[in-house]
């Protein structure tokens, strides 16, 4: 089974890095969509179903925190798990985002295995390095 993923980050370089790390990690990606901020992410979500959203926090326009709040208010979209990928590594921020509704938090810098493990935890799949069939 492959998962449709939406990567939200204002930096094209970081979006491309995350996409590559997902490939390297062995995480099964189906459709991969990208958005440069929260507004663009909502537009993508209006037209496409994804299994998980990976979002940065610090973005111009609608930032990651606002995106999580908007998704939480939406009857349909609130079921899509959101994982924060951020340079903000403080425990206060992690706690704040989890309280708002994020389901996972990956702190930059991160290893491919760390990202895969977090996605597997959030999606409730895999979790065993010897069994990536999911």
């Amino acid at each position: 089974m492959a998962f449709n993923v939406l990567i939200v980050d204002d930096s094209p370089a970081m979006r491309s890095f995350i996409a590559r790390v997902l490939d390297l990690s062995g995480f099964p990606v189906g459709n991969r969509l990208e958005a440069s901020n929260g507004e663009e992410a909502l537009l993508k979500l209006a037209e496409n179903w994804v299994d998980i959203v990976l979002t940065d926090l610090n973005m111009p326009g609608m930032d990651g925190e606002q995106l999580v709040r908007r998704l939480e208010k939406d009857e349909m979209l609130r079921s899509i798990p959101v994982v924060i990928i951020s340079t903000d590594r403080t425990e206060s921020r992690v706690h704040q985002m989890m309280m708002l509704g994020a389901k996972g938090y990956v702190k930059k810098p991160f290893l491919p295995e760390t990202l895969r493990r977090e996605l597997e935890n959030v999606l409730g799949v895999g979790g065993d390095d010897d069994d990536r069939s999911l």
Binding site: T90, S92, F110
Partner: protein
């Protein structure tokens, strides 16, 4: 918080980010007195919280190309200048976030978007409470500096 705290956090964060995300190793310390290369790719970001301050990164052309190539999985001669600038902004963002979380793990910080800047000649660290490192990455020097508002 002392200059030593800043220096240690800066050193540990830079090495962790460079190794994990850029596959780069610090091979030594360049001379901090050395003037910044006029064609350096530089970025600066402002952060607010307890403490507030400014974080600056400047990579000489060789280091900027090699860091961007590693991050984007491209050959060095395939890296356009604007992508190198984008990658240096990301680098600044990541090292700064890591430094702040080491200094004040319980504090909520607001990191502004990193902006490309032009730095040439003398290093502009002017705050009384600041730390700077000039890292030799083999392909060139990466200068990093954190300044705390006092």
């Amino acid at each position: 918080m002392t200059t030593t705290d800043l220096y240690n956090a800066l050193s540990d964060s830079a090495e962790e980010v460079l190794e994990t995300m850029f596959f780069a190793t610090v091979v030594g310390e360049a001379s901090p007195a050395e003037a910044i290369h006029p064609a350096s790719v530089a970025a600066r970001l402002v952060f607010h919280g307890q403490p507030s301050g400014v974080f600056t990164v400047a990579a000489c052309p060789g280091a900027a190309r090699s860091l961007a190539a590693a991050f984007l999985a491209l050959e060095e001669n395939e890296v356009p200048q604007e992508r190198a600038g984008e990658v240096v902004c990301e680098l600044a963002n990541m090292i700064c976030g890591s430094v702040l979380s080491r200094l004040e793990p319980e504090e909520l910080f607001e990191l502004k978007h990193p902006e490309p800047v032009v730095i040439a000649g003398a290093w502009p660290c002017i705050s009384a409470l600041s730390a700077r490192r000039a890292l030799d990455l083999g392909d060139g020097t990466l200068n990093i500096c954190i300044e705390i508002e006092t």
